[in-house]
Symmetry: C2
Subunit: 418 residues, 2 copies
C-alpha cells in the first residue's frame, strides 16, 4: 500500500521485460516481437512468449506483494517494454467475495467465491485486455483503433484509447444497449450504430482498414488482449496464496479470459510459483448460444457457427469464436467441462445472489452461478470443491426494468403489515 | 496483498477497539457507547469519540500497510467491537487517478487528482457509511432498517443489510432513477415509491417507527455513517504518504463525507500520524440548491432550507442538512470555501473529463471539476495547488441519453471522411 498518487503508473519506473517472440497458437510458427501483428498466417491467434527463466530471476512473490494493487503490478509478465506506454485509469485488484449463505443453501462443505471484475475502470473485465492492447498499440506506433462491439469491450477501448491519446472508432449493432453506446461516445470514441448484427459490424471494420489505416482490436485478432486477460489468472493465484481453487466457472463468449488464465497458470508453474495442480476450467454458455458446449460434448476440436444465437447475456452471445480450439483444449486439459444454462436460470441467478448475499451480478456472472448449481446437482462438481465464479462486469450496467415494474406505487401504506 | 480469500473480512480476526463514548456535536454532552442512539437531545448529530492514546499504541503505519485494501483495514479507528459484526461485500481502496492533460489545459504547475469512489460495492461512496451503520445496527441488535432516499444510499443500505441478514425498507420519491430503484429492490429491500418529495419520504419513515420498530438510518440521524465516511480521509492520507493535498473539492449534499474527513484528519493529527497542515475543504453545490454556499457567504452558522431545490446532480439536491453547522465549521477552519456551479457546467464537466482523460464521472463528481475550474479562474485556488476531486459514484449509473441521441444512425459510411 501507500502508493504515492503523484507516481501514476503511466509514469511509473521502468521494469525489465522478457518477450522473446510470438507464436502461432495452431502451428507453433514463430513471429518477431515488437512488430505489428494481427492473426498468424494460418488465421489463428498469436501467443506472446517470454524468457521465463530470466523473468523468474527479475521478480519474486515478496517483491510483488509490496506493489500497489491492479493488473499493472504484473509488469514482468506483460509485453509492454517502456513504462511511458503503460496506460492506466486507476486499476484495482478485483475483490473476491465469499458467498457463505449460498454455500449453506447448496449443501456446504466447500467454498464458493465471486471474483468481482465490475470494479475495474469502465466496469468490466474488458479493461484488462483493452488496457494491454491499447498500450501495445501506442508502443508500436499505431494511432487509430477500431472494433465491432455490442458493449463492454468498446467502452474499455474508448476509455483507454482516449487516455493514451489514440483515436478509436466503434461499430455497434443497432440493438446494443443505450448505456454502453453512450459510455463509448462520451469517452470520445466515434460510434456508429449499424443496421445489422455484430458480424456486419466486423465486416465494416475490415472493409475500412485500407481507407482509414485503423487497426482492428477485435477479440484474439491481435495478440495482446489475451495477455491482459492473463492477469486474471495471475491475480487469482496471488489472492489464493499461490494455491489455486478447485474449479473456475467462466462465462465464455470469445473465451479470451479462459485462454488467458490457462496461459497464466502454465507460466506460473514454469517459474515454480505454483505446483502442477490446476483448477478444472468450466466454460459457461447459454442454451441459446452454446457452440463450445456442443463441440465439447461431441469431442470436436473446433466449434462451428451457432445459428440464431440468442440470450439476454449479451457478453456470451458469441456464435463463433476464433479461439475455439484454445478454449476446448484448456477445458479438456484441465479436466473441466462446458455447460449451458437457460435465460430463466440466469435471471433466477441474478435474483438469488442479490436477494441472499446482497451482491448484484451481471447476467453473464449470474450464468456462472446457475451453471454451478446445475453442475452440483448433476455431480459434476462436489460439495467439497472450492469454486470461483467470474462476475465479468458490474450489475449496474443492466437496469433490470422487469424489477421496477413489479413495485407497488402510491398504494396507501399499511405499517402494520410491514 | 495476498489476502486468503477464505478469510473473508466478515470472519476476520478480532482487533482491539477504542470507543469511549459519543458526544453531541453541538453541546458536547456525552452519551454512553454501545447503546442505540439517534440524534442528541439537542436534535444534533452525535460524534463517536475514541481513546486515541490507546489506539496509537495498538496500530502503526507499517502494520496498516500489510493489510488488504478497503476501508475495513482501519478497524482500530472504527466503532465495531466484534469482528463477527463486520459486514463486507469486497471493499477496495479506491484509486486515485491523475489528470495530466487537464492539468496542462488549466495552466499546469500543480496536480489534479480524482478519487474514484465508484469502485466500491454498489458503485458509490455510500458504501462506506452504510457498511458501518449496518454493522453497528447488527452489533446493537437492530433487525429492521429504514431510510428515505432517492438513490445511492438506499442501494448501499439494501446490499449491506441483506449481507448482514437484516431487513430494510426504503421510501423513494416518485422521480427516483429507475436504475437505483431496481438496484435496491433486487438486493432485497422493500421499496416504496412515494407520490412526493424526499421530505415526504422522510416523514413516512418517522411515522412508521412506532408501528414497525424499524430504525432510521437517514444521514447523520444515527452516529455511524459519519465514521464510515471518515475512512475517506484516512485512506486519502495513507495514499498520499501521510502528506495531505492542498485542496479537496467535495460534492456536498448532507455533507457527511466532508465532516467525516475533517474528523479523520483531527484524529490522525492527535495520534501524530500527520502534522497540522490541512487541505482547504471546498464544499461544492449546485446553483439550483446551494444552502451551504449562501450561509458561507453570509457568515451564518446554519443554512436554512433552500426553496425549490433543483439540479441534475441528485446527490447534491439536499435543501436542508442536519449537519449544516459542522460542514460550515470544517470549511471555515480549513481556510476553504463553498462554491456553486450550474447544471450546464456540470454536464460540460462530464464531457470534458471523459473526452480528455477517458474517465467517466458521475454528475456530482463532474460538479467538483466544474468548481475547480471556476475557483482557478477566480484565483481562489492557485495553479500550483495539489487538488483532489471526489467522484462519489460510478458514472455508469447515469445513462446520459442526451449523448446517444446525438449519434448518427444508419447513415452510409464514408470511410474517406473518418
Amino acid at each position: 500500500m501507500s502508493p504515492d498518487p503523484s507516481r501514476d503508473p503511466t509514469v511509473a519506473e521502468e521494469r525489465p521485460t522478457f518477450v522473446t517472440h510470438l507464436e502461432c497458437s495452431m502451428t507453433g510458427r514463430a513471429y518477431e516481437a515488437d512488430q505489428v501483428h494481427g492473426l498468424s498466417e494460418a488465421g489463428k491467434p498469436l501467443l506472446v512468449r517470454y524468457d521465463l527463466e530470466a523473468l523468474a530471476k527479475a521478480v519474486n512473490k515478496a517483491a510483488l506483494a509490496e506493489r500497489p494493487g491492479g493488473f499493472w503490478r504484473f509488469r514482468e509478465f506483460l509485453p509492454v517494454r517502456k513504462a511511458e506506454n503503460v496506460v492506466s485509469l486507476g486499476e484495482v485488484t478485483t475483490p473476491i467475495v465469499r458467498l457463505p449463505r449460498l454455500e449453506a443453501a447448496n449443501g456446504g462443505g466447500g467454498a464458493l467465491f465471486v471474483k468481482d471484475e465490475g470494479r475495474l475502470p469502465t466496469g468490466s473485465f474488458k479493461a484488462r485486455g483493452l488496457a494491454l492492447a491499447v498500450a501495445m498499440a501506442r508502443e508500436l506506433g499505431l494511432e487509430h483503433l477500431a472494433m465491432p462491439t455490442a458493449g463492454n469491450a468498446g467502452a474499455a477501448m474508448a476509455a483507454y484509447a482516449k487516455r493514451a491519446g489514440l483515436r478509436s472508432t466503434i461499430f455497434c449493432p443497432d440493438d446494443a444497449p443505450a448505456v454502453a453506446v453512450s459510455e463509448m461516445a462520451v469517452q470520445g470514441a466515434a460510434v456508429y450504430q449499424v443496421n445489422g448484427l455484430i458480424n456486419d459490424c466486423g465486416k465494416l471494420v475490415g472493409e475500412g482498414k485500407a481507407a482509414t489505416g485503423w487497426f482492428d482490436l477485435s477479440t484474439l485478432k491481435e495478440p495482446y488482449r489475451i495477455e491482459g486477460k492473463k492477469t486474471m489468472g495471475l491475480e487469482l493465484a496471488e489472492q489464493f496464496g499461490w494455491e489455486l481453487p478447485d474449479v473456475i466457472f467462466y462465462p465464455t463468449g470469445g473465451g479470451t479470459g479462459l485462454i488467458g488464465m490457462w496461459k497464466a497458470f502454465a507460466e506460473l508453474e514454469a517459474i515454480g510459483w505454483i505446483g502442477s495442480k490446476r483448477p478444472r476450467m468450466v466454460a459457461v454458455q447459454s442454451t441459446g448460444c452454446a457452440p463450445i458446449v456442443k463441440a465439447f460434448e461431441e469431442g470436436e476440436e473446433h466449434a462451428p457457427l451457432w445459428p440464431d444465437a440468442h440470450t439476454i447475456a449479451a457478453g456470451i452471445r458469441v456464435p463463433i469464436a476464433v479461439g475455439d480450439f484454445l478454449i476446448l483444449r484448456a477445458v479438456r486439459e484441465s479436466g473441466g467441462f462446458a455447460i449451458a444454462v437457460t435465460d430463466e436460470a440466469i435471471l433466477a441467478g441474478v435474483d438469488e445472489v442479490a436477494k441472499t448475499e446482497g451482491l448484484l451480478l451481471c447476467p453473464e456472472g449470474a450464468a456462472t452461478y446457475a451453471a454451478y448449481k446445475q453442475a452440483l446437482a448433476a455431480g459434476r462438481v462436489g460439495p467439497q470443491d472450492r469454486c470461483v465464479l467470474y462476475n465479468c462486469a458490474t450489475g449496474l450496467k443492466y437496469p433490470l426494468p422487469e424489477v421496477t415494474s413489479r413495485l407497488d406505487r402510491h398504494k396507501p401504506i399499511d405499517y402494520a403489515a410491514l
